[in-house]
Symmetry: C2
Subunit: 205 residues, 2 copies
Amino acid sequence: MRIAELARRGGVPVGTVKYYLREGLLPPGELTAATQAQYGDSHVQRLRLVRALLGPGGLSIAAIRDVLAAIDDPTTSVHDALGAAHHALPTADADPRTEDWAEARDHVRRWGWTVEDDSPNLSLLAGALHALRTAHFDTSDRLLDRYADAAAVLAEEDVATVPTTSMTEAVRHVVIGTLLLEPVLLALRRLAHENASMKRFTPPP
Amino acid sequence: MRIAELARRGGVPVGTVKYYLREGLLPPGELTAATQAQYGDSHVQRLRLVRALLGPGGLSIAAIRDVLAAIDDPTTSVHDALGAAHHALPTADADPRTEDWAEARDHVRRWGWTVEDDSPNLSLLAGALHALRTAHFDTSDRLLDRYADAAAVLAEEDVATVPTTSMTEAVRHVVIGTLLLEPVLLALRRLAHENASMKRFTPPP
């Protein structure tokens, strides 16, 4: 297909496609004339991935280059490519105190989860636990275990449904699924709170 | 206790307690001399609630006054007081499109949840579903049902552990528990993704 068709299928203006080509976020097409190139389905997939990383992902151009390099490296496993994307996602508090980080790691070990020692997600958990403690909110192991169980059930099936037709599609699925299902989960939890509060605190009619 | 002791137990400077008294966020103490008042445990509880609403809750002084008025009204049920606090919490996207809102409400009805028609949490869900659709991410009923099930399990137990010793303590628990467990849940989900990805995509050694 020509660049106009690629832009249409990616849902962006032609100028944006040209910009991605210049920045190396899209590989060049196959030249069919001095000023004309042909693009394939892999370009459409790559374009959609770049849109997902830039939009919901909120990644910088430099961070996107790193993720794409991981995908394009033939020695990268799917797990490593997904990890590169996952670890490039923005995190709010990336500098937790040492004791909070150790507590987070201890919980994760207790659940028998395999997680990289330098995972930014350990820092996320450490920061979240610190805020709870500062607010004098009871964070018993039992409470955290409940939340971990729920997270594990969701993650198991999320990962089982990652498409493996192409690395590009897998990474796009993980980035969008990780980020855009987060507000869905939080909204559902608040709605479920409303429903549960109604059941507990409102006398039956 | 005197104002200095109240401030110490609330973890704030005396000047802050005086400010809350002037703003009507704390009821006046019992005057024991022209310039001296005595405060009780209910003042400590109220002070901690105001801290939770201002800090993690991110509520304005005006919104806090509304929540406190609901608590102090003897005709308010626990469910209504919790609802007032819940509905006063900040929401990102409060103006969803009509069809997104209708879709969110249809899902909630399908699960048999009882939720106020003007619940801001319906708007939260509508906005989150809209973002997923915009990103061309499959939001099948089956996927949403999984997430709703997990949210319901968490919410059921969350609400079961709300303390009912005092309305003030109940509201403080709900505000902090709702808001500060959200980043915990998201961090746990991302860690669980790491673990599940390792299991699915890494060959056993």
